[in-house]
Amino acid sequence: MTIAATAGRTAINPRAAVLAYLAVSGIVLLLMMLLGLTMRLAQAQWIDVSPDFFYVVMTMHGAGMVGIAGLCSAAVMWHFVRRHVPVSTAVFLTNLVFFLIGAVLILGAGFIGGFGAAWTFLFPLPAHSGGLWSVNAAAAYLVGLIFIGVGFLLLHLDIARGILSVYGGLGAALGVKQAFGLAHGEEGPPPAVTASTMALIANILGILVGAAVLIISLVNLYVPSFTFNALAAKNLIYYFGHTFINVTIYMAVIAVYEILPIYAHRAWKTNWAFYLAWVLSTVFVLTVYTHHLLMDFAMPTWTLVAGQVISWLSGLPVLLVTAFGTLTVVYRSGLRWNPAAALVFLGVAGWAIGVIPAIADGTIAVNSVMHNTQWVPGHFHTYLLLGMVAMVLGFMTYLTNPQSRYGVAWLGYWLYLLGGVVFVLAFLSAGSASVPRRYAVHVAQWLPYDRIGSIGAACAIAGVLILIVRFFVGMRTAASAQDPSG
């Protein structure tokens, strides 16, 4: 089913477009990591940051990281899915332009306008700044999100168009027939197509819901008498927000399916279990968001119970088949480890490990104690920093990997891994000791966690810096090179 995707359709080099995505992602990722470090250093009382500015930094870090996670994982997805379906490079680049416009608006809202209502912009907080930011600053933030959403909507719709033109329906591209034994697993769509289909289903629905609540929030900003049910708004925001950030992992995991087999010289074999896992995860990812509302007592009980049960199940199907597949691809394959392979392998491990504290937090009895502690940033940094970001860094290294010079990249890898582990363990330990999250000022008893976490964060940033500098050094040759897979 592989086709020459866009040959002859556009003058833009698709590989250069992917590299442009990754270059922007690399720079923004580093900047956002520095903002994160700023917060940890402030909490550790090693630097002075006013509480007002702390919340601006927290908002920019959150929004920036979610956005850039979406952007770089979209680059992974697009790079591999275009081998199988026709997609438009122009639309791909349009998403990048929309993202940059949105990013400028969001950064302006924060660093010029002082907007600090957290990336989740929970209604009606943007309109109630207590004098810290203006209505226009809040509007700039919301409009920035709309720009980013529109870009991603276009990208996913274009991939949907390409997938439908080859597979006829999204169900076929997801491998529904294979999942339920109606067709042989070996005849199913390639993993990149299945994962992309899941991503576009979840993200298109999520963005449509997000657009509605963004419009309502914008109207409320300028006409405060137009109100909306705050709990309904929170549901809509988390439906959009949770789905968007969750899907970044499912887009980035395509790197595992595509890169590891190249280095292990073994194909990634698909079967009914693989497709069933993706079908189930598609359903779960669209219904699991209520675990963000476990502390909202006004929610109907059944939704919270569903949130708990689906949280336990949500990530597992795809994670299990991916982890098992990763091990079977690697085991006794004679794979000669290099940073690219090691990073995508680490990504699966980080994802698998991060899911465990996430499942704990998705349990109502635990959540009622842990929800507002650093346990929460602990678990999501585990599977995002050491999972999703590792997969993307692996992809970046794979694209710009002159096979003879691994030394510097290995240094970056180990700094990133060790720093990242220390960083997330500091969060999780602090969470288990009930250190609250989202506090600008910490008491003395909390400082050891903050200081160890700061050191870990600094090491991780140094490692990522090395890997990204190495990516930029290799970019020029990578733009004209063939994929290592040929």
């Binding site: 438009s88 639309v91 909507l153 276009l154 719709l157 274009d158 949907a160 168009r161 390409g162 439908l164 033109s165 080859v166 597979y167 006829g168 329906g169 999204l170 169900g171 076929a172 289903i201 298109i204 629905l205 963005i207 449509l208 819901v209 997000g210 657009a211 509605a212 609540v213 419009i215 309502i216 109207v219 409320n220 008498s225 137009f226 109100t227 909306f228 049910n229 309904a232």
Partner: protein, 206 residues
């Protein structure tokens, strides 16, 4: 065939204009917004089917990718979504006549002509914009502190809000399930696998 279609469209228009039917549909906010207005637009789409073969070349060329036509549709529908415009149509027969003429001719006809020219991605994007905006407007109707239209009660306004949300959800679900199973409207079954099924056809053919 074309003559019959034109006659049917004209006849339907006249039926909708008959005072008992017109007043009944305009006496309720839901019927006005969710029944009469869409019906008038659909009549214009029928006229477009007839006019399609006789469309001047310069007009087709000027309607680049269907964008100018769809912009006209957006402007026209946006105007008649304004509470003040709806009020005017209820209170002033001349304003109502303008609505009866503008919705078919300035919204329906451009929709029927331009939709086919729009690339698949553009059509999908229009749908993806239309659905959440419908839901958001419904939400705003529910959250409005006062009556938005002078001629409709608060309970009618609330019902209209829920109706718009329900339509948005129904459209979204239909769109999703059609794309999931690869359903293509019969008018667009030239080559469903190559054309990309529902998303590409998206109510209008290739």
């Amino acid at each position: 065939m074309n003559a019959r279609l034109l006659a049917a469209a004209t006849g339907s228009w006249l039926v909708l204009w008959l005072p008992p039917i017109r007043h009944t549909l305009e006496s309720d906010m839901v019927l006005h917004m969710a029944v009469q207005v869409p019906l008038l637009i659909m009549l214009g789409v029928l006229v477009a089917v007839v006019a399609r073969d006789r469309e001047p070349r310069w007009l087709a060329d000027a309607d680049w990718l269907g964008i100018p036509g769809i912009v006209a549709v957006v402007l026209g529908t946006s105007f008649w979504m304004l509470p003040r415009a709806l009020d005017q149509a209820v209170s002033d027969p001349w304003a109502d006549l303008i609505k009866f003429l503008s919705l078919p001719l300035l919204v329906g006809v451009p929709l029927g002509l331009s939709w086919r020219r729009m690339p698949p991605l553009g059509r999908a994007f229009i749908w993806a914009n239309f659905i959440p905006k419908l839901g958001a407007i419904g939400g705003l109707y529910l959250g409005a502190p006062t009556r938005l239209c002078a001629y409709y009660r608060l309970d009618q306004q609330e019902l209209a809000g829920w109706t718009l949300i329900a339509i948005a959800v129904a459209l979204g679900m239909t769109w999703f399930f059609a794309a999931f199973v690869g359903w293509t409207p019969s008018c667009a079954k030239q080559s469903p696998r190559r054309s990309g099924g529902f998303l590409i056809a998206a109510v209008g053919g290739n």
